[in-house]
């Protein structure tokens, strides 16, 4: 193996030299010791699980029943449904708010800035509860509305950063060709801006997917809610741990798939000669960003 393959991108930090034979032996020893500690921790965890009888048949039988499986699948479907609505609506709201913030008319600009800053500063759960409790909206629309307001405002900033990242010459050239304001935006700036920000946009959708689980707190019958129903069943001896063991890998897996997709798109963009890679975090959206987004 070459030194480069061994150290990968860490070489660039220059925190340590390429290890010689003695250092390598020492590192090997550290590796063995730390692996032993981790294995010990896992073993202790397993012991605790067995000790508190988490693997007894009673706690796992419910998952064999068709009704329970259907309950879980229905929950998963509801989660995906909320995610689909929330992502489409937030993309639309984001586009609208970004257009507002880039508008040449001062009142429009101020109004959209106010919206963006306010909805980004509020905890998304407070908005969802407000819509659910005060406006007495059904759980699904309340969840979708809350997620849309929050993620839409964050996406508005992402779109704006993307459009501002397009070189000034592009806009000037388009105007010189006699295009109108709307044409410049839709034919020249938006396609390039969105392409540059695509990875960030997908990462924000991961946030939306994660936040659909907030529906659990307003009794929307999503995946976690289905899990809670099963977990609090006395007949099966309250299988909280088994439910967590089944639900978490699915949630984490879905989010990881979407995150990997974002990374893959980012890598492709960086290789593409058509776009200049834009490595801008939402957080680093410039001095305008008084209140940065939620993670």
């Amino acid at each position: 193996m070459t030194a480069h393959a061994l150290h990968g991108d860490l070489e660039s930090t220059a925190l340590y030299d390429l290890p010689g034979p003695r250092a390598r032996r020492r590192h090997f020893f550290y590796g063995i010791a730390s692996t032993a500690v981790i294995l010990g921790l896992i073993g202790w965890l397993l012991y605790l699980l067995f000790d508190t009888e988490q693997f007894t048949a009673a706690k796992w039988t419910p998952f064999e029943y068709k009704g329970i499986q259907e309950l879980l699948l229905k929950g998963l479907w509801n989660t995906l449904k909320a995610f689909a609505y929330a992502s489409v609506f937030s993309l639309v709201l984001g586009a609208v708010l970004a257009t507002g913030r880039l508008s040449l008319h001062r009142p429009v600009r101020w109004l959209s800035t106010l919206c963006v800053e306010f909805f980004r500063a509020m905890p998304v759960l407070v908005m969802i509860f407000f819509i659910f409790v005060a406006l007495k909206v059904q759980p699904l629309p309340a969840l979708v509305a809350g997620l849309t307001l929050y993620n839409g405002s964050v996406l508005a900033e992402v779109f704006r950063t993307g459009i501002n990242s397009v070189e000034k010459g592009q806009r000037e050239a388009a105007y010189a060709l006699g295009m109108r304001k709307t044409q410049v935006m839709t034919y020249v700036l938006a396609p390039q801006g969105v392409r540059a920000m695509l990875p960030t946009i997908i990462s924000q959708l991961v946030v939306a997917l994660k936040d659909t689980s907030l529906g659990y707190l307003i009794t929307y019958e999503e995946f976690l809610h289905a899990g809670k129903l099963i977990a609090s069943n006395l007949d099966y001896d309250l299988p909280f741990i088994p439910v967590v063991m089944i639900i978490s890998p699915i949630y984490i897996g879905m989010c990881m798939l979407l995150s990997w997709f974002a990374t893959w798109v980012a890598r492709r963009e960086r290789r593409s000669p058509k776009t200049k890679a834009v490595d801008i975090d939402i957080e680093a959206a410039g001095p305008g960003a008084v209140l940065p987004g939620r993670i």
């Binding site: 508190t52 500063a121 509860f129 975090d281 993670i295």
Partner: protein
């Protein structure tokens, strides 16, 4: 309007609950994030793997699920701690993954020559990281850490929904007492704005004082 004046004590308790939760969870997140960032750049492979697994899993877990697992799952497991402590641990661990990533990108902004100079003075990996690279990395990642902590303050609302005393939780009592819901939520919103704007202001000051332009 009189929701606030009538129930100042209740609001105050909720507000302080959120502040406490934020402060303690921030401390947990900073310490763990620092540790994980050091793990992720360590020369020993198993440390790097551990750090990567920690960050990848926690970044992709919905916080509600984490609260569900910690607040409702762990007690079934024979681990009984006060709810508040569970909430601090869940929030802290979740946020530590984001702190770790911020710090790691900060480490990458420190010029390579700094590490080389430290090594040529005979410093070990720990010394290079602890006395030369990380202090500089900290200075360049003040803004992203600030936004991560603001996010933490906002996320603490989820703890309230899981019946930990904090700001959002006050709405339940006030709703039962028959106060106007709109005003109740308005003051909750103001409470959160005070907290997030204070953190934002604090980190602006920190950045002016200690930030570095690279």
């Amino acid at each position: 309007m009189n929701v606030l004046t009538d129930n100042f004590a209740l609001y105050g308790k909720g507000f302080l609950g959120t502040v406490e939760l934020t402060v303690y969870a921030s401390l947990v997140a900073l310490v763990l994030g620092f540790l994980m960032a050091s793990f992720r750049v360590a020369p020993v492979g198993s440390f790097r793997v551990f750090g990567t697994v920690w960050v990848t899993i926690l970044r992709n877990t919905p916080l509600t699920l984490l609260f569900f697992a910690v607040l409702l799952g762990l007690p079934r497991f024979g681990l009984v701690l006060p709810f508040q402590l569970f909430a601090v641990l869940a929030l802290g661990c979740y946020t530590s993954a984001f702190i770790c990533e911020a710090l790691r990108s900060g480490i990458n902004t420190v010029p390579k020559g700094q590490g080389e100079a430290a090594r040529s003075l005979g410093m070990s990996f720990g010394q290079t990281l602890g006395t030369v690279v990380l202090p500089q990395a900290f200075r360049s990642v003040i803004p992203p850490i600030g936004s991560t902590l603001i996010a933490l303050a906002k996320n603490s609302a989820i703890a309230g929904a899981f019946s930990v005393t904090e700001l959002l939780g006050t709405y339940k009592t006030l709703n039962e007492l028959g106060y106007s819901i709109i005003w109740t939520f308005l003051w909750i919103a103001v409470g959160y704005l005070i907290i997030t704007l204070s953190i934002s202001a604090l980190f602006n000051v920190l950045e002016k004082r200690y930030g570095v332009a690279r």
